[in-house]
Amino acid sequence: MLGSFGIAVTTISLLLSLSLLYLSYYDLKLSSNRVSKKIYKFSFLQILLTFLSFITLIMAYVISDFSLINVYENSHTTKPLFYKISGTWGNHEGSLLLWINILVLFSFLFLILDENKNKNFRLYTLIFQNILISTFLIFLLTNSNPFSLLYPVPTEGMGLNPILQDPALAIHPPLLYVGFVGSSIYFSIALAALITKVDSKSLATTIKPWVSVSWSFQTLGILVGSIWAYYELGWGGFWFWDPVENSSLMPWFLMTALLHSVLVLERRIGLYSWVIILSILTFTMSVVGTFLVRSGILNSVHTFANDPSRGLFILSFLALMVFSSIYIFFKYAPNENKNYKIFSKESFILLNNWFMIFFLAVVLIGTLYPVFLDTLTGQKISVGPPYYNFILAPFLLPLLFLMTSGPKHKWISPEIIGIFNIALFIAVSLFIIIFISIKESSILLLLILLFSTYLITQTIFDFFEKFKNKNINLSRIISHFGFGMLIFSISLNQIFSVEESFNARVGDERKFKNYTIKFSNLETFTKKNFKSAKGYFEIINNKNSTSQNLTPEIRVYNKPETITYEASINTRLFSDSYLTMSNISSTDVFNIKFQKKPFMNFIWFSVLLISLGGILQFTRFRKKI
């Protein structure tokens, strides 16, 4: 029932998108300077029906309608309701439907929010957006239909992989998709601006809120994903430079570059073409990201079973998209003069863009090099985290410095600003205190600590200056402060992390450094959808004779039968204690890994601050209209 209904609704929304394409094209020729009412009506219907198709799929999951292959493969009657719902986008077909929903949502929001813009500009944006929507809907209906029916109808589903049954992972895809797919709207806007020759000021004001929104969501999505990896994968790390993680980071670099260069475009004519190129690249990178994750060509720890035909579709779509954007760009690109004065604010923003592009290149090469090498020579390799750390870490120094001093410069007029000020003085004295207390010998790490301390103190100073001078951009202060905190906390985390792995039986005790770990008891119990063995550990810190209890679990889920190791994490303000336990081939020996992870809270919190800056930028902007 729900299956046929879903197919019908999705087909109608495809028809609506196609008619919107036609209507917008037709409307271009009309002399009226307002977008016709019909387009509004159709857009409203389009968003209504697209949402309805998604709700239909959610309903099918909620009532466990196993006549849908998609529900049968990814759900189970005993699964908690929350995970039945989140299971909807935990698989390829469902997440593609979510992707389309967000495309439609952005198209609709653009139509109703940017009412005061040039008519043809809006219509062209709508045309490009609907080309994207129709293509993805066709892909959904022909290749990845979540409503495909199954006969005979099975009585029970196959279940959802238990590591995906997690609150963080339930909200991770929607957040990331708003970021990824949000970039589609400025892709469309950029192409439309080229064709209708919109001036740089209105291009900048149109694109800016969309960039800040997608950037903030992308940041949040990455944050939630790495929190999940931290407590669920049991490695005790938060970033692994895994190809799948990289695919979410690469569009982020481009969005960050765009976010900054739009600021220039708002004030002067420069960077028009560059902003257009960045907008096109960002969405292209988002599609590349989707392609990399869904096609299965990456050898990643996150890889799920995949289907190569999807990759082929996305790849051909990508090629078509890139070539037509390049064509449109070269056909319509305007001439512009590029005169920059060194030490003006815009040249610092250009520098930011250089850094972002460089970071992007490094991550892109690291991610794709193994794929190319494999196709060309058949050699199997993987690129390890040292590559990224080794290359990126030194470049953090100039980046941090520029983030501190760049925003202090004025627009257009060159003016060298003294870098010797109170903030630097405080930063250096703070750094000396840190230096004495940490006994760290890596010069690079120390320098990174110093530069991030400088950024932090400077942004705090800027924050207080805001009370005097209302023109200072608060979102910049918050995001830059967050970034300084992030680098600062990661460095301290690197320096102070403690790790110990060993094997133990119940009753064993292990001493190392100033810790004693006692494995006191093991309990087994059965829950609705899993069986569990829970270990009781006491961690004694001999230095200050405090102790804490940690209880990691080994869970055996019944549908599908999967073993997971639940890390036990004791979170304190400054440091996490992290313990995982695993069983080795059903003997009575357990494999224990204890980790002390300092400043984890600070890492999460600073990323939250970074994205908060973007959200603030958006609200500030909306108020102006």
Binding site: N299, V301, Q379, K380, I381, S382, V383, Y387, S501, S582
Partner: protein, 142 residues
């Protein structure tokens, strides 16, 4: 002669060009030093000393009945049905590590029969097998 503006532009262009070349060389050099090559046990037995210098990834099946543990380490045999290598590892194994299942170990070869692992890799999906292992097992099963 070139006027000053063109000269300046040329200078900027050239310095950017040179800088990007240096960066690219630096990038690929680091990349080369940090790649992990993938070997199956059969490939290890045929390999030259290059395989012993750097960290590599060793992939295959955990031989049934071969896993032994004591207070410090885990010992097991990785096989691709043709050749076998003994792996020694200190640390936690991922949830899907089991006898008779696929495994990827990261670490250093001590000799052609003996591998010291630093990390055993986790995979999300019990049906999923790293493409490298699948391929090398497929070839050997013939």
């Amino acid at each position: 002669m070139l006027n000053i503006k063109t000269k300046n532009r040329l200078l900027i262009f050239l310095s950017i060009f040179v800088l990007s070349i240096i960066l690219t060389i630096f990038l690929f050099k680091t990349l080369r030093n940090n790649v992990l090559y993938f070997y199956s046990p059969s490939e290890v037995s045929k390999s030259d000393e290059n395989a012993f210098k750097n960290n590599i990834r060793l992939g295959g099946m955990v031989k049934p009945g071969s896993v032994k543990t004591d207070n410090n380490e885990i010992k097991f045999i990785v096989t691709d049905y043709k050749k076998e290598i003994i792996v020694i590892y200190q640390g936690t194994v991922p949830a899907l590590f089991a006898e008779g299942k696929g495994v990827v170990a990261e670490g250093k070869l001590q000799d052609k029969k003996f591998f010291l692992a630093k990390r055993i890799l986790a995979k999300h999906d019990e049906n999923y097998m790293p493409p490298e292992i699948k391929e090398s097992l497929k070839q050997n099963a013939r």
